[in-house]
Symmetry: C2
Subunit: 764 residues, 2 copies
């Protein structure tokens, strides 16, 4: 290994200056990256992170301000005034903390080996910072640490990233690498090796949300260590003359490494770091393949270009605020699932064996209860190849599953079983029905069917025989019944398409299970036990953790029949009474669940901050009152999205909140994943051009759009008047034009034409 001397840095420095100039020039051409503000969603419930990451990147270098609170699942809360350290991995928008692996923190003076509490940053390596000294953009994060004056910058490639620490002059500068922590959970074991005068490798294994998760890393420092120390359980690792002990390696539960330096004023020490789920060696291979030299600006520019290419798949017109909101939402939608394989194609499988991704790229972190709704449908439009690879990744997970189940909420070689349902199904079926190629349909169907017939998982078997999930056997029984029914509808669609008629009939029957839980006495979905008795007493507006509903009330879940909206409307007595009831959802107020997690973004009892509500607004479309859909879309977007750190009303949930916005900004929404139609909402931006994968463009225009002109007057689709409140994927997939004419008042004559026979069900 060679090291550049200061003199040899000069050409690098000049090249850097030129790159900065180029970046700034690029700025003037208004690339999508110019509008990305990663800090959106970092204040409050959004749970996004501001750090440096490539599109769907495996590594996310980002500051952590909080490592314990459930509400700060990404590690960064905008309202915190101090930063603990900068770690290598982060969730975007989950409701549960984890990751935050392998911390790096520059220090000046006597080094700390404890982080210190928020209440007293001076008692640990934690440092104060100010948002005025902070910058976040695509592939780049920068902040000045107030307490020691060190500027920290980070950029990221796919599996490797780079820190740039700008130190003041000091003979006690240091960089701490802390392996002993992650966000909230327990580091079970770790090791570290000082490979040479500027390279360390190691790993830690975390028992957390994921029960057994391995992160290996290799970090190369641009400047050889003046000296270094490994700490184990807070004690220096050294040979005391009794029995030899290497001071260059250690294994244990609580390990830290400190590189000491004497620095001149404004001296930059860079650290490039690669990660892997497979081995320390592979983390080095990933690093070597992706970041070889010390050109921070080049990495930053490369990643920015990648982002511009990804984000540029949709070009929009709109105000600066709208563009910031839109492109940051798109950015957030393009973070998860993350790449989860090394440059040699290997990755850690669900069975903890090292697997080789053959013929596909492996992805991890599937927050499927969230993302089946709008994120994967968005990927069908904008990331069809990646979506196919995600499906292949889910099928590999299935192959490795000892329970023969597709992923539920999978996390880097682990299944967390978080949330409910078998929502890999709508993801796969949605892609299949939309003709996304790149995965084996028969293999996928086999996995789907086996999953839906699992004898052990969440009383699916009881549901299949009884017709509902009984609350005396299973918690969240109503939500499970309703979501299973939708999943089963999806299976029926795919079975039909594959000519499996018996399966079609079987799963179509199961998809009607929602009717079994419709209680005519309350006109709501209600729990039933295994003998058929209704849940009594039945508190229709009550949120009960572990009750019959998943993070919701009966009033919210009673609308969850996306697969048979007509059937649901009929149960409610037809369009009129259906809409009256629906109206009251948006006006009912009850303070009983005021402080419940996951219930944010309230509009009456419609809680936009969590997923069970996400499809509800579009039901008006199918009950003859599409103007209410239009009105509410605008209302929600104006009140619950935006370009501020606190603009996300709920957990972004790996992009689902953002995906909801993205569809609706363009005027349509996949109300029933696993079908090939979109409900028409009401656009909030004047124009969007979707560059489809096949090379064609689909253009949305909203004429006369304004804050007041939120109601559709007419719709032209591919040159023809569209009087239906929905349109087919087939009308979009080959490119075309969707032109809305907007006005200040509802056009109640528009959109009443609903032909349920062309929705949902694949024709026999």
């Amino acid at each position: 290994m060679k090291f550049l001397s200061i003199n040899r840095f000069l050409p690098v420095f000049l090249a850097g200056c030129i790159l900065i100039f180029l970046i700034r020039s690029a700025h003037s051409q208004n690339k999508p990256s110019d509008f990305v503000k990663p800090l959106i969603g970092t204040n409050g419930e959004g749970n996004t992170y501001p750090g440096a990451v490539a599109p769907f990147g495996m590594i996310q270098l980002s500051p952590d301000t909080e490592d314990n609170l459930w509400e700060t699942a990404s590690g960064y809360e905008y309202s915190d005034s101090s930063i603990i350290a900068f770690s290598l991995t982060h969730f975007s928008g989950t409701g549960i903390p984890d990751l935050g692996d392998i911390r790096f923190m520059p220090q000046i003076g006597k080094p700390w080996f404890v982080q210190g509490p928020k209440s007293n940053p001076d008692s640990g390596y934690r440092s104060r910072y100010a948002h005025t000294d902070e910058e976040a953009s695509t592939g780049y994060y920068s902040v000045k640490l107030k307490d020691n004056g060190v500027r920290v910058e980070a950029t990221a490639a796919n599996r490797a990233g780079m820190f740039r620490f700008t130190f003041p002059a000091s003979d006690s500068a240091s960089i701490l690498v802390d392996l002993s922590k992650n966000l909230r959970w327990n580091v079970i074991w770790s090791n570290i090796r000082v490979v040479n005068d500027s390279t360390i490798t190691g790993f830690h294994m975390v028992n957390g949300w994921a029960k057994e998760r391995y992160v290996f890393f290799t970090a190369v420092f641009s400047k050889p260590f003046r000296d270094y120390v490994i700490m184990s359980d807070g004690k220096k690792v050294f040979y005391n003359g009794y029995r030899f002990r290497s001071s260059s390696e250690c294994a244990g539960k609580n390990i830290q490494f400190l590189a000491n330096y004497t620095t001149s004023g404004n001296e930059q020490v860079l650290v490039r770091v690669g990660i892997s789920s497979v081995s320390a060696e592979n983390s080095g291979k990933n690093l070597q393949e992706e970041i070889r030299g010390w050109n921070f600006e080049q990495i930053r520019l490369n990643t920015r270009k990648k982002w511009d290419a990804e984000l540029g798949k949709v070009e929009i017109e709109g105000t600066q605020d709208e563009k910031e909101t839109f492109y940051t939402a798109l950015y957030h939608a393009f973070l998860t699932p993350v790449l989860f394989q090394d440059v040699d194609g290997s990755y850690r499988g669900l069975d903890q064996n090292i697997r080789q991704a053959k013929g596909f790229t492996n992805y991890a972190i599937f927050s499927l209860w969230d993302t089946y709704r709008a994120t994967h449908p968005l990927f069908c439009l904008l990331q069809p190849k990646r979506n196919a690879d995600m499906i292949n990744s889910m099928l590999a997970h299935y192959d490795q599953s000892v329970d023969h189940l597709l992923p539920v909420w999978s996390l880097c070689g682990n299944e967390t079983w978080c949330m409910i349902g078998y929502h890999a199904v709508p993801v796969i079926v949605d892609a299949y029905l939309k003709g996304i190629s790149g995965f084996d349909a028969e293999r996928a169907y086999s996995a789907i069917k086996t999953t839906a017939m699992n004898p052990d998982y969440d009383n699916v078997k009881t549901y299949a025989t009884l017709g509902w999930v009984p609350f005396d056997k299973e918690n969240e029984s109503v939500s499970k019944t309703l979501e299973y029914a939708h999943d089963d509808f999806c299976i029926a669609q795919m079975a039909k398409a594959l000519g499996k008629n018996a399966d079609y009939e079987y799963f179509l029957k199961r998809s009607m299970a929602y009717k079994n839980l419709f209680d005519k006495s309350t006109m709501l979905m209600r729990g039933r036990d295994s003998k058929g008795n209704w849940r009594t007493p039945f508190k229709t507006h009550e949120y009960v953790d572990g009750g019959d509903f998943t993070e919701a009330t009966s009033w919210q879940y009673s609308w969850y029949v996306p697969q048979d909206i007509k059937g649901l409307i009929d149960l409610q007595g037809g369009n009129k009474s259906f809409c009256v009831k629906l109206d009251s959802l948006f006006t009912f107020n009850d303070n009983s669940s005021q402080n419940v997690d996951d219930i944010q973004g309230r509009l009456g009892e419609y809680w936009h901050g969590n997923e069970p509500s996400h499809h509800i607004i579009f039901l008006y479309d199918f009950a003859g009152q599409p103007w209410k859909t239009q009105e509410l879309v605008h209302k929600i977007i104006r009140s619950q999205y935006g370009n501020k750190p606190n603009s996300l009303s709920g957990n972004d949930d790996c992009g689902q909140m953002s995906s909801w916005y993205l569809f609706n900004a363009m005027g349509f929404y996949p109300v029933c994943p696993g079908t090939n139609y979109y409900a028409i909402g009401s656009p909030v931006i004047p124009k969007a051009t979707i560059h489809l994968a096949g090379g064609k463009d689909f253009i949305m225009k909203a004429e006369n759009l304004s804050d007041k002109n939120v109601y559709i007057q007419k719709v032209m689709l591919n040159g023809k008047a569209c009087d239906k409140p929905y349109f087919m994927y087939d009308e979009l997939k080959n490119g075309g034009e969707l032109v809305f004419t907007m006005g200040p008042k509802p056009n109640k004559k528009w959109g009443g034409n609903v032909d349920f026979s062309e929705l949902n069900l694949v024709k026999p």
Copy 2:
């Protein structure tokens, strides 16, 4: 996976009967295996184990009776009356416990998930047993568990083994697999997966003597589980209806698996199990490659044949007792180092990365402070190919060492730094000087030199500049100085042979460092501090843990100059005074160190039970009194070796105690490893034929040998009279004949001819 029905077992049963017949027939032909009694050394300090193992096998299925006491490092102590369980890995003869990974234990009735103490076997899965119900032979172990009547049998291939459990009729039979324990140390993490109705896989990671050691396994049961349970922290792993949890997999610190069965009388349930350091998948590959069906007897026979082939490399004449002693010693010498790579050539390296053994077979467990003395020199004769592979394994270790050190005491991908010196050096040099091919001499020399010049390890650097290891900087400073000096002598030999004259001079000078610690006032080796001051007070017979001597006294270590025996004799004032002093070593008695570990097998202050004494007897040869060597060899062999469980006077130390015996039984000993001569002792068996690797035989005959006729009258070597008390490896390597004529009294005229100029030093 297919399972044999009971009916389909019939041909297997018949084949088994035939095999048993064949085995018994083989017995009648007196194969070496007939004389192997694995129980030798299991009572007391020997620390061997009785279980099933192939030659140098990676897996050792053996009962554990004790999992905590330092003195029961192999897990089995003959005097214990109850067995905890049967685990898959075991040390042979070490002084420190570890391994004992992955326990299997059959139970009847309500299953226990705790082992229970020796004092009350009824309070755990532990069971009483009797030696009358126990059988141990090459590749086979069997015992009947008194408490539940289950017979347990085990056999082993290289990386996989098989248990055969013969149950009584019971509706509550079970087989426990306990991942939560090993011998003495801490299981940090484990996981388990029930792959199908008769297969489990998993691993555990142990922080023990080896700081981070992984054992993966796959176990296939011959009979599908009636049902099973995984326990974690003593609680059943199951789904309670709240958030799904698989009952078929678990990860944690304290995991057990129980397979439940209903058995008929004498029903046999077999379990075949493979292990790996790499992955669960690889443990399955190892199993699949080595043991496919359920033919226990076939595996047993195959391994017995392997043993006969290895043990048959030496054919001896002698009594039954002598043959049992000899072949069991050879068996013990052929257990360690163990094979440490999977069938695909992969293994876990010292850096915990998965490595591929290219062009060699990888071995692990190098107890070098012990085995450089006689075990590896024995391998030069009997296992030259394996010895070369062991050297290649040590070089791979070196390549992976963050400290750039050859192994000191390496343990399955870990360095323990146990004991002192850099004794990979004499192993490599000994093999090199003896012309053992199969490793790259220049590469080996580079590793040797870098190791000997290490700036951090055990004050080698201070030693190199000061001329001794100062006791104020380093413990065991005298032993280290003396052993470094011998190691350096070896380096000098190899340097000379490779034409590295400057290195030769440098290391030859270092090899004379022993002189710096010879204290003329006491005529003993004595500690000096970094200023040159002698250790004061100096208690010449005192054993001090962590003092100036390694598990020994000054009186013992003062003889440790194998590389310059003439120099040592001169320091003592010539042959006469040297022998007078040496005589007193064998007669001095002091009770002060009576209960010290590692000091066993006393003959005065000569403690044969530990290695620092092993070369001393042969010094008489070079000081004109070879008959004392002859007398003492017999005395020690008759008193401290034999064919009983308690026959080993000290830890077998991975074969070193046994190797000492093996050489001496044949009449010679490698008094100075890293040279090409053997000191002549006095044979204890009448004839031995060594089948050398090249196809030639070297035959030793001892004419007129009896219990009284222990003195050499004359020696004929390759047809010529040999009047020197040593001979050269070159005189042996192409085959030949060494004929002793023995008598009841010393022939003091024999053996006085010592030409030091032909010993040790490679001529310039």
